[in-house]
Symmetry: C2
DNA sequence: GGTGAAATTCTCTTCCT
DNA sequence: AGGAAGAGAATTTCACC
């Protein structure tokens, strides 16, 4: 992991459709060497996958909300139950007033309510607190 | 936006390195037709960009935290000030006890403290409450 | 590790249906 | 809108440094 690897990662986060020739030129390497670097970054898991960023609103998911979930027991085994709810984009165990923090995307507030109901059915959940997003300033990739 | 467009989006979210020939086969179209569909999805902004998913821990960002920011005034103009802090990955205006919710990634808790200090220097900020992530169950793309 | 070039495969335009 | 085909460009491999 040297500076060239970091530059390649930055460039690919910006635009992963660039050719290896262009990437190589940007970091001062040949096409083949840039390709080999990126291949190794993938192999080592630093680059997890190549994907597309989608406009969620355009796909009918207009509401974003964060849900603080309180549990009566250690919820370390709830990952499977939570991942079965397709509207949950992220789930984290947190240090703080609640046990788990979820990021949820739904079509509307009616559907959000339905997700909360399903979260409540997960073992150990004693309460939820939803925080609805009014406006997103930015969601970006870190440099 | 029909079912084929949705299938193409799902396939590309899984793996955006697939050739148009493979994508076309998966949805029952020719390579050229699949290409044209994806081109239009990009043009219309449904597909924002093609990017890579990076293992943040491998890049030295071991700590993830959510920060609830309370403000004394309407913080609708704070986007620029917040985006100048590179450790902030997301910033949302929320309905609820605080005004703004941030997602932050830092190397350690020391650096997190430093980010909180810089957030405090943004006009109108009267308080912050950090929620540190202990374990991430999942961060995924929605189907 | 990196280079340069060859071989293969894919992209993307054009024309036709 | 989709299909077929060809020109041009990219990926990927390999011998050599």
């Amino acid at each position: 992991m040297d500076d060239i690897d970091r530059m390649l990662i930055d460039l690919l986060q910006e635009d992963a459709t660039q050719s290896y020739a262009v990437l190589g030129r940007a970091v001062g390497l040949s096409s083949g060497a840039a390709h080999e670097r990126v291949r190794k970054l993938r192999e080592r898991g630093v680059i997890r996958r190549t994907t597309i960023e989608v406009d969620q609103a355009a796909l009918g998911r207009a509401v974003t909300a964060y849900v603080l979930v309180e549990g009566s027991t250690w919820m370390g085994d709830s990952a499977g139950r939570l991942s079965a709810i397709p509207e949950i984009e992220e789930a984290h165990v947190i240090a703080g007033p609640a046990s788990v923090l979820l990021k949820v995307r739904t079509a509307g507030t009616r559907e959000l309510q339905d997700v909360l109901r399903r979260v409540f059915e997960v073992d150990g959940v004693t309460g939820t607190q939803a925080v609805v997003v009014l406006e997103t300033f930015f969601e970006r990739t870190l440099k």
